[in-house]
Symmetry: C2
Subunit: 239 residues, 2 copies
């Protein structure tokens, strides 16, 4: 049997490959795969849905990511996708798979971070799943938002001549990651050394405790502005 390595397609190529044959049949499906979030028509307000999975050893390294920060970030990255549709997140579900090295106290830390994100952004935790895992921690968050149909902003709305604006500092979180990885290497070579992150608070903060741009969407609403298109570039500008 043929064996094609997944890496030959890349993440977005793989998603495109796996989902290209799925038809959209439900009249309520306004937008399926291919934007920051899916959009569902309910007669009243539209439901906007986005989901992300964070895997230990791939998306985070518990050597330098505190569990509370991880919980916060795992929620915020999903809320960011809802805001990128010009919608407001209202609810989240959180599923976790954990190996037996995680204690209840460790999970309490994780959920304290999830709770902090719920408090900051005013969203409700409404469901989820907890499961064992043979190894490591996996977190899957689904964010659910609401929006009037006419206020939704899609990636596809962009057209030639549009002004392109970016919020935040591109590369900030990446720089923070480089600093944390550097300090981890130094610490591994010499466990007596304390990490030197003096003066790097901003970049480290962008990596460990990013925020979603709720403020921008609120500003748009207050000023009656509607961008022609929006995209969440927190996965990287080239994504």
């Amino acid at each position: 049997m043929e064996r094609t390595d997944v890496n030959t397609l890349g993440e977005f190529g793989l998603i495109e490959h796996l989902t290209r044959d799925f038809p959209l049949r439900q009249p309520s499906t306004i937008k399926g795969v291919g934007d920051d979030a899916a959009v569902i028509d309910n007669g009243g307000l539209c439901t906007v849905v986005s989901t992300d999975m964070l895997v230990e050893g791939i998306h985070f390294d518990l050597a330098y990511v505190p569990l509370k920060h991880l919980g916060y970030k795992s929620v915020v990255v999903n809320l960011s996708d809802i805001y990128a549709m010009n919608a407001f997140p209202r609810q989240i579900t959180v599923s976790i798979a954990i190996s037996n090295r995680f204690s209840v106290e460790a999970l309490d830390e994780l959920y304290a971070g999830i709770r902090a994100a719920c408090d900051t952004y005013g969203v409700d935790l409404v469901g989820g799943d907890t499961s064992s895992s043979p190894k490591g921690l996996t977190i899957s968050v689904t964010a659910i938002g609401q929006c009037e149909k006419e206020k939704l902003v899609y990636r596809s709305g962009a057209k030639a001549g549009d002004l392109i604006c970016i919020t935040g500092d591109l590369g900030g979180a990446y720089l923070g990651l480089q600093l944390l990885e550097r300090e981890k290497r130094i610490w591994q070579e010499n466990p007596g050394v304390q990490p030197d992150l003096e003066g790097q608070k901003y970049a480290i903060g962008r990596q460990l405790k990013p925020e979603a741009r709720k403020d921008m969407i609120e500003t748009f609403r207050q000023n009656g502005l509607k961008p022609t298109a929006m995209i969440d570039v927190s996965d990287g500008l080239a994504s």
Copy 2:
């Protein structure tokens, strides 16, 4: 620092422990944690949301579970939760984390099963996430349904004197699992032996290709029936 083993709480005790301090603040949140699915008010139809995570080595064993069946089942177990609210599933999101032992062809098999479930139940795949994993396969599915608010059926509606009815054959899937595990043990001890599953098609089918009871909910609607309470017992009668 204190270290409480997660197993002391049990799955449902753990969910209760982790989510007990989360307030519900959104006026649109009708039902949060504690039923088969969460319920969100949109002005028009309500959105019903449920999510489940399946982890290799915990929920399935690829020694005897074909990937196509796994894809089918991972969708169906979520749809079952939506039907258990007396609602109809309309959309799903599917997130997967995969180690490098999975080829594109293997994922195509998995998604063929997901597609078959979408076809059978008429739901749309509208989003998801794909990620690397250091080890094994994890699948997280979120199902999204719709329902008129007055037709929703909660667990909490049950009262003394109600007639209790069960659909399907309790223990069928468990028996199928026992048979598959037995044949796996025999095969491990003697790789030359072919599995003997003759005459066990029904029990094996309940384990490898379960169905959600869409037919029951349709029957309720056609006959103007509304149960006082419903619960999905496919996790086990005691769950």
